[in-house]
Amino acid sequence: MIKYLFKRIGQSIFTLLIIITVVFLLLRLMPEEGYLGTNADKMSDIQKETILNNLGLRDPIIVQLGKFYKNIVTGDLGKSITYRPDVKVSTILAQKIPYSLCFGLVAIGLALVFGVSMGIIMARSKNSIFDKLGTGYIVIINAVPAAVYYLVIQLYLTNTLKLPILFDKSNFMSWILPAISMSLGNTAGYAMWMRRYMVDELNSDYVKLARAKGLSEKNIMVNHVLRNAFVPMAQYLPASILYTIAGSIYIESLYSIPGMGGLLVDAIQRQDNPLVQGLVIIYSSLGILGLILGDIAMTLADPRIKLEKSGGGR
């Protein structure tokens, strides 16, 4: 297992390296005004060149790459230019992450509880009214763009339930709508997968043998099917949790929550290149980390999987 872990981490670092390089090169295509700050149009050409030179943007690409890698390793993601001038990107991130993380964890918690239960009930009472309603819910959440239903929720629920629209750290009520909105998507996802896996398990041979043994349907559900259906889910859980750090762009902006999600939007709107760069790297790393953790979670859940031989595309 340890040997596998090392190999996996090595593989992932390699992939990450490629991603970072690609992102780096892509970002060099970004408009240069992003580096010059808000006074860009008032600067003379010489001033612009100086700034760019100081930032190392006129060096040959290879040199820039090299410096970039070095900086990443030391945790230096550069300094923000337009968003919070001269503040280190890493500092900015450190302030934003807690909010997104908090909401994200609550959202995942809700989604797990409701989504998994929903999926189980749907699988048990397949084709009943409840199943159809549940499916309807999943369809709506999956098909309609999130932006639309988040808006609808914010609009109509704040009015009818008299909940605050803007987020305020101290006001507990203002936490409710954003958290619930955030959990909707994941709830639908977990419910759908749970139902699908359980139905698959219900059709397998060992369930037929269990039935022949004389076990009641309820017993089979609880002791055999449930546990087995969870295994494929385990692979996706760590990734979902990590993504909550990324925050939800819509929700944070709709409810004015000072989290990570809104950061990317702001950075783009203000054309703050180093910030955009740093964020993209963070998100990609989170993704890869989620994958590794997911694999580990799978081994823990499924005793058949021996990781030493695993390899190749996921």
Binding site: L209, A212, L215, E217, N223, H224, R227
Partner: protein
């Protein structure tokens, strides 16, 4: 193996099937899988049901436990067990006292029959706890004893292992242990050795024979392998196209078969082949069960069919008290028929055997 005298003495019937008809709904059409089978099962015997793939052997026994696929149903007929008609059971609750407790099944594929994520010890123990009123440590002790009985070495350690840590033969033994753990009266073995290699086959069959003696079971073997039948069966029923065309003691079927289909099956045994000549094979393919069958189902493939075989379904003709066959050849008006060449040797042995008695 029992002689026909033994069977006469132990004539207690445990399961009685009467004119059972089973259909399947398939893509809007109706498939007549079982076309009116009547059968008595005697206590303590080993009954083998032989037939080609698709003859309906598995479907027939699945009805005893209510394990038909969702598009299958019992059209008519009855299955009497302990005074109850199993054919009338509709809901899972009805089956609660029967499955496992009275009738248990060992199925064909040990690879997929076991829950891959549960230790096998627990899977054996489940049946014990459910049907034998033991819990916890006592149940575990019995589970370990069962594992030992079925021939798994080091049972205390292997109790904690997962199915993927066992070989095919070992897994089949575990499945047998699970079935025994339920303490049934009737054990249905659906092609228990088909997925195993020949050496393992012999071992499993011996194991089943021993278990039958020790636990006083009645066993139904479903198989297409006559070799298996020869090893274990007291009585043999030959199935074709959803009907039992011939049934009798094992000796009677092997050495004195009367139905052309049984002849064809026996002739197909490679051991009866004559060196230098082509091996025998039955012409044609099994009949289409979607249509109503007129007359004898085997008639189109039977080179020795009578005209009446295409018109009227033959009833059972008695050959002896324990042996009957559904063929018009046994009618007094039927012409005398030559046995197939390869079987002659076999049947001459029967003459000798009968004369001994």
């Amino acid at each position: 193996m029992m002689s026909y005298l033994d069977v006469k003495i132990n004539k207690e019937v445990v399961l009685c099937v009467n004119d059972l008809k089973v259909n399947f709904k398939l893509r809007g059409q109706v498939l007549n899988a079982i076309r009116g089978i009547s059968l008595d099962l005697y206590k303590g015997e080993s009954l083998a049901i032989v037939g080609e793939s698709g003859s309906g052997k598995s479907v027939f026994t699945k009805t005893f436990m209510g394990l038909l696929e969702s598009n299958g149903y019992i059209d008519s007929g009855s299955i009497m067990y302990s005074g109850k008609d199993l054919a009338k059971f509709k809901v899972a609750k009805d089956w609660r006292g029967i499955r496992g407790k009275e009738i248990a099944m060992v199925s064909q594929d040990p690879m997929t029959s076991l829950n891959p994520l549960k230790i096998i010890g627990k899977q054996v123990q489940e049946g014990i706890e459910l049907h034998q009123n033991l819990k916890g440590a006592q149940a575990k002790k019995l589970a370990i004893k069962l594992l030992e009985d079925v021939g798994i070495s080091d049972p205390e350690k292997r109790y904690y292992q997962y199915p993927h840590e066992f070989s095919g033969g070992m897994r089949q033994r575990v499945v047998i242990a699970i079935a025994i753990g339920c303490n049934p009266k009737i054990l249905i073995c659906d092609e228990p050795t088909t997925a195993l290699d020949v050496t393992m086959q012999a071992q499993i069959l011996d194991l089943l024979k021993n278990i039958q003696k020790e636990y006083n079971l009645t066993i139904i073997y479903i198989t297409h392998d006559l070799g298996v039948v020869a090893k274990v069966a007291d009585r043999v029923g030959v199935m074709y196209a959803g009907d039992i065309v011939e049934i009798g003691l094992a000796d009677e079927i092997f050495y004195n078969a009367k139905h052309p289909y049984t002849w064809a099956l026996l002739s197909s045994l490679p051991q009866l082949g004559i060196k230098g000549e082509d091996l025998y094979s039955i012409k044609g393919t099994p009949i289409n069960l979607f249509k109503e069958i007129k007359g004898d189902a085997f008639a189109p493939r039977n080179p020795r069919a009578l005209k009446i075989d295409f018109e009227l379904t033959p009833p059972y003709f008695e050959v002896s008290k324990t042996h009957k066959a559904k063929t018009w050849l046994l009618d007094t008006r039927a012409p005398k028929v030559e046995y197939p060449k390869a079987l002659k040797k076999l049947f001459d042995e029967w003459e000798g055997y009968r004369n001994e008695k």
